[in-house]
């Protein structure tokens, strides 16, 4: 059996939902970060599937851009988290609440 477009979309939506709820509910910055990446991957999966089933290259081009931007973002984001840990000795978002009124 060959998987149809709906199966790809469903998987993509599932991955996106996992990532989204991870961002909402998890407390560790690194985990939240991984969940963000998961959402990006979910959207690239959907784009690749559209590209494959439409027979055009548009979706694939998007994916290249997203991967490039994500790589840069990871480099910056991880550096920030490492710097944050050095300063505050924690990466739990509950304890990172000094930016309030």
């Amino acid at each position: 059996m060959i998987a149809g477009l709906n199966a790809y979309i469903a998987l993509s939506a599932l991955l996106f939902a996992i990532g989204f709820f991870g961002v909402l509910l998890r407390k560790n910055t690194l985990v939240i970060y991984m969940c963000l990446e998961l959402m990006l991957v979910a959207s690239t999966l959907a784009l690749v599937a559209f590209s494959r089933f439409n027979g055009t290259m548009d979706g694939n081009v998007f994916v290249f851009f997203i991967l490039t931007v994500a790589a840069a973002e990871v480099a910056v984001g991880l550096a920030i988290i490492v710097a944050l840990f050095r300063r505050r000795q924690t990466v739990q978002v509950d304890e990172l609440d000094s930016l309030k009124h």
């Binding site: 961002v23 000094s98 309030k100 009124h101």
Partner: protein, 627 residues
């Protein structure tokens, strides 16, 4: 030098002197006094050159411009200004020289002479000003210098109170003056005196309110009823100041201003001049009555000044006179502003003899070691012969003794009154009787009889710096009435003076003099108590109460105005400050409090806000509408 630059020099001399003294010489009394006197001498020389060389000019330069509205500074030096300038310069110089002696031992005489200089500057500004705004600026400056000089002995509460009173009462009048200037600009589009005259001659109509509002300024500055209350109190200042500011020049500035704006009165309905006339008549009579019951030598002179100023205002208010001119082409009737002529003529002679009387009283006070009560004096005729002679000339001149200065000017006013209004003539003639009466009373009590106190016993004659101004002013009080001597220089003004024909007025003046002066000579005994008070205690206490006008003002300010102000303050606190200002701030603050609660610092909370925002944005993009 051009006449305009001479006029600027005239203003710069006293201003420079005042600045020099105020900035550098506050502790150098001797140097400061000489600088000030030098400036006054310079003023007299420059003024003499301008006046007697017949230099008459107008010059103006723009100072400030707001759109169509421009304020200019300029000079209008016509015969009227020349006459006033001559008076100010001459009396100013006399008072400066007199002050050298009178204030010699005062510890803060540098401040005093600086004040005199700033006064001269301000007064010359009024005299030379060519528009009402400039006049108003200098008008306020003379008010300031008057405050400064009344306040000279500020450690005395009475002096500082008097200074404040003078300043505040003048503010009331000046407010009307300012409104009048604005109204004048609004109605005629001009504040320049020459332009105003041109517009009025061109047929512009003037409502009575405009000259009357401007007259408010004169009521304050020239101390007319009902704003006369400050002048008697202003006698707290040093006596030369009273002579210069509160007798000869500043208080006369009101009459001078009226003469400057005479075209407005001529164009306005007759009611304006009538109001002016009655205020002058009432002031003249009221002040003459008050003067009878005063014990303080300076207070008598102050009320006398009030009365004479009332005379001038009344003369102005009597207005123009129909005169028949005879010439080769036949005779024709012309309207002559006789009021201006008579008022300015009396202003001139009054400046001389009243300055003389005040300086004479200064000499008396100085001789008696600062005793001012006339019932504690007496017998000064032998102790201070020069003061006695000059003071006698002053008394004779103000009483209208024939062929002295006051005789001619008072006759001019009485003649004008007789032509225009018999009732006014009666009151003014009666005022003249009172004038002769209280001046003779003063003269007899001070100079005749035996000394009635220790200080009068040891009185001593004044030194040369104080004697010289007395002699100069006495000479002027004798010859000041003969316009034939100097009239051609000021022809524009003094040709307007009405001259009595026939002997009616002469007889009237003689009767006035005999009844007034003779009555006082016979009536008053040189004793330590007032004969009038002993014989008519009821009438005396009525006159001494000055009709309770001060008390009425006190009551008004303390009980009515103060309570109204407190009520307004209450509303201000509750409505303005409480509801509007604090209320608005509170509402905004509540919003702020709500918005601040969103800012928790918790990342997950922000994600929820973000989520809600995305949903709303999405909904908006999809075209949802709220039910």
């Amino acid at each position: 030098m051009t006449p305009a630059s001479l006029a600027i020099l005239l203003l710069l001399l006293p201003l420079g002197s005042a600045a020099l003294i105020g900035l550098f010489l506050r502790r150098q009394g001797a140097l400061a006094s000489w600088i000030s006197v030098t400036a006054a001498t310079g003023i007299a020389l420059v003024a003499g050159h301008l006046v007697f060389r017949g230099l008459r000019f107008e010059a103006a330069t723009e100072w400030l411009r707001f759109g169509d509205f421009a304020i200019s500074l300029g000079f209008k030096f016509d015969d009227l200004a020349a006459l006033m300038l001559a008076i100010v310069a001459l009396v100013g110089l006399c008072v400066h020289v007199f002050s050298l002696g009178y204030m010699h031992d005062d510890p803060s005489r540098a401040r005093y002479f600086g004040g005199l200089s700033i006064f001269m500057f301000s007064m010359l500004g009024i005299v030379l000003a060519d528009n009402l705004f400039m006049m108003f600026i200098f008008w306020e400056l003379v008010g300031f210098s008057s405050w400064l000089l009344i306040n000279h002995w500020h450690e005395k509460t009475s002096a500082s109170d008097a200074a404040k009173k003078a300043f505040i009462v003048n503010r009331v009048g000046d407010f009307g003056f300012l409104l009048g200037i604005i109204a004048c600009y609004w109605a005629l589009g001009a504040v320049n005196l020459t332009e105003i005259a041109a517009k009025v001659h061109g047929g512009a109509t003037v409502v009575a309110a405009i000259p009357l509002l401007l007259f408010c300024g004169a009521v304050g500055k020239s101390a007319q009823m009902p704003l006369h209350v400050w002048l008697p109190d202003a006698m707290e200042g040093p006596t030369p100041v009273s002579a210069l500011i509160h007798a000869a020049t500043m208080v006369a500035a009101g009459i001078y201003m009226l003469c400057r704006i005479e075209p407005l009165f001529a164009a306005a309905p007759a009611i304006a001049l009538n109001v002016v006339m009655w205020i002058g008549v009432i002031t003249a009579l009221y002040a003459a009555f008050c003067a009878i019951a005063q014990r303080d030598i300076k207070k008598v002179l102050a009320y006398s000044t009030l009365s004479q100023l009332g005379y001038m205002v009344a003369a102005f208010g009597l207005g123009s006179l129909q005169q028949t001119l005879h010439s080769d082409a036949g005779s024709f009737d012309v309207l002559v502003s006789a009021g201006v002529g008579a008022a300015m003529f009396h202003l001139t002679t009054h400046a001389f003899f009243k300055a003389l009387l005040f300086l004479g009283s200064g000499a008396v006070i100085h001789a008696c070691h600062h005793e001012q009560d006339i019932f504690a004096m007496g017998g000064l005729r032998k102790k201070t012969p020069l003061t006695f002679i000059t003071f006698t000339i002053g008394v004779a001149a103000i009483s209208g003794f024939p062929f002295l200065a006051g005789f001619f000017s008072k006759d001019a006013i009485l003649h004008l009154a007789l032509e225009k209004n018999h009732f006014v003539f009666g009151i003014l003639a009666f005022t003249a009787v009172l004038t002769a009466f209280y001046m003779t009373r003063l003269w007899k009590l001070v100079f005749l009889g035996a000394p009635r106190s220790e200080s009068a016993e040891h009185a001593h004659e004044v030194g040369p710096t104080m004697a010289l101004p007395l002699v100069v002013l006495a000479v002027l009080s004798v010859f000041g009435g003969y316009t034939a001597i100097y009239g051609h220089v000021f022809d524009g003004v003094l040709s307007l003076v009405p001259h009595a024909e026939g002997s009616t007025i002469l007889m009237v003046s003689l009767v006035i003099l005999i009844v007034g002066a003779g009555g006082a000579l016979v009536f008053y005994q040189p004793a330590a108590t007032d004969t009038f008070e002993q014989k008519f205690p009821g009438l005396f206490s009525l006159l001494a109460s000055k009709l309770f006008i001060d008390e009425a003002y006190n009551y008004y300010v303390a009980k009515i105005q103060q309570r109204f102000a407190m009520l307004l303050n209450f509303f201000e606190q509750i409505v303005l400050a409480g509801l509007i200002i604090r209320g608005l701030a509170g509402v905004v603050g509540l919003f702020g409090l709500g918005a601040r609660a969103l800012q928790t610092g918790r990342l997950s909370a922000y994600v929820y806000w973000f989520l809600i925002g995305v949903v709303l944005l999405w909904g908006f993009a999809a075209g949802w509408t709220f039910p």
